[in-house]
Every structure is written in C-alpha cells, then in structure tokens.
C-alpha cells in the first residue's frame, strides 16, 4: 500500500516530463500558479481512474490547442496540416494513459496490480480550471509556452 499524497508530486515530476518527451518530443518545465492562472483557450480536463492496490484518479488540465500540437508530433503530421479534433483528443487520452501507468509503477513498485479505466476528456470553464490549479496537490508545467496541470487524487484501499 502506498501513501498517495506524499509521493504523488515526486512521481509526477519523475514521469510526466519523460513520457511527454519520449512520446511527443516536447519538453515540460516545472512552472507555478502565476503561469497557469489565466485559463488557456479551449481548456479541457483529461481524466483516468484506477483501482487495485490503490484507487484514485489522475487528471490533466491542458488546452485543446496543445493537444493538436501533441497529435501533430505523435503522428508526424507535416507543417501546415492540422490534425483532426478527434486525433488531438485521442493523443491527449493516450498521453494520460501512459503517464498514469508509469506514475503508478513509480509510486507503488512493480508488484501491485492496477486496473486503469479508459481516459475521458471534457471541456472545462475558467472556474473549474482555477479550482484545478489551486489544488495543493496540483503539479504545474510549461509545455510550448502553455500550462499543463496534473493532479493525482487517491485513497488507500
């Protein structure tokens, strides 16, 4: 069993920049509340739940614009061509799926078994964005001059 609150930020810091770079060739730099304060245009929240040795949810606040950039890199789309909205959403779901699987191993080791849900994505308004970034457990990054916020909500089972 792992203590979610004490390890979550460290695990996110260890995993998210690596997964982002290896999957998309983009870089994530740690940032702060001030950078993320203004909600990005077309903000979305991507979420995935997990159960097993521990249960909880990983959320990622990000702009759909950055989602398109990530899809462009993942799919090696030529400059000037735009990935579809569904491709951008698919890319964000996959990014969170891989990030979550790797964070859980980082926190719990390679013995416990976790079951992950299918990632969900939904638009969020300025109020929801502010709530997400203001959470003490939120980890804020700068990616391509845009904010990305990750938050792990967990409870021991």
């Amino acid at each position: 069993m792992i203590s979610m609150s004490s390890k979550a930020s460290d695990a996110i810091a260890s995993v998210f920049p690596r997964v982002l770079e290896e999957q998309t060739f983009l870089f994530a730099d740690p940032s702060d509340l001030n950078f993320a304060a203004g909600p990005p245009r077309e903000a979305v929240c991507v979420s995935i739940t997990f159960s097993g040795a521990n249960a909880g949810k990983l959320e990622m606040g990000i702009s759909a614009t950055l989602g398109r950039e990530i899809a462009r890199n993942l799919l090696e789309i030529e400059p000037g061509e735009e990935p579809s909205d569904s491709a951008a959403q698919d890319a964000l779901r996959e990014l969170l799926n891989v990030t979550c699987g790797n964070i859980l191993t980082e926190m719990a080791g390679d013995k416990p078994v976790f079951n992950l849900s299918l990632p969900q994505i939904e638009p969020i308004d300025a109020k929801a964005w502010k709530k997400l970034i203001s959470d003490p457990g939120a980890s804020i990054y700068e990616v391509e001059n845009q904010p990305v916020v990750l938050r792990l909500i967990g409870h021991d089972t």
Binding site: V19, E22, Q23, A71, L74, L75, E76, S86, A87, D90, A91, R93, E94, N97, V98, C100, G101, N102, L104, T105, D110, K111, P112, V113, F114, L116, S117, L118
Partner: protein, 129 residues
Amino acid sequence: MSFSVLIVDDSETVRSIIAKTLRLVNISLAETYAAENGEVALRILQEKRVDLVLTDINMPVMTGVELIQRMQESEAMKGIPVVVISTEGSSTRIDEFQAMGVRAHLRKPFTPERLRETIEEVMGDINEQ
C-alpha cells in the same frame, strides 16, 4: 522472412505510431492490419493470415486479455505469437500474460529500437530483403 502483423489498440494514434514505427525500423512486412478492440481483431484473425499480433490490454468492447484467451481457445489462432504493448508495469500482471501464452511485453512509451528488438526476439529474422 516477410510476415503479416495485426495491431490492436483502441487509440487510432497508437495504431498509426506502431505501423509507422514498423516501417521505420525496416521490418519486412507483407501486410499490416489494424483493429480498435479484441472483437474486431478476432474477425480479422478469422479472415486473414496473420503471423504476429501486437495488442494493447485496456480497450472497450473486448479487452486484450479476452482477445488472448479467445485466441488460445482456437486451434487456428493459438499458435499465432502475441506481443502485448501496454502501459502495464506490474511484474505480477506481466507474469500472468506469459502464463496465458503471451510471447513478450513491451511497455509504453517505447522506442523504435525496443519495438524492433522485441519483435526480433519473437519472430527471428525480420530484416527487409
């Protein structure tokens, strides 16, 4: 040796990445098929000659585990090598995959080189002629 591969993943992005990566690392492929879940994969396996299955686990409609179980129950399919490509990091779960007949597991994110090495371990000579 040229062979046909079936890529099973609910993410179109991932299916596309794997297909591109297979071409990038010069694996000799006859045909590349793709399915968004285990159910569609089974239909393709019934209709086409497939030499290798690369499958995710966490998918809607029919998971990768169910797909592998159904393949093992089929005389025609149980000999087809299966490689799981997933976010799974639990050695307990990976041991379970191996007990089900899975030949190798590749964790996401993966490099093109790691994909090639994994397939080479399973299929032997995979170089383009």
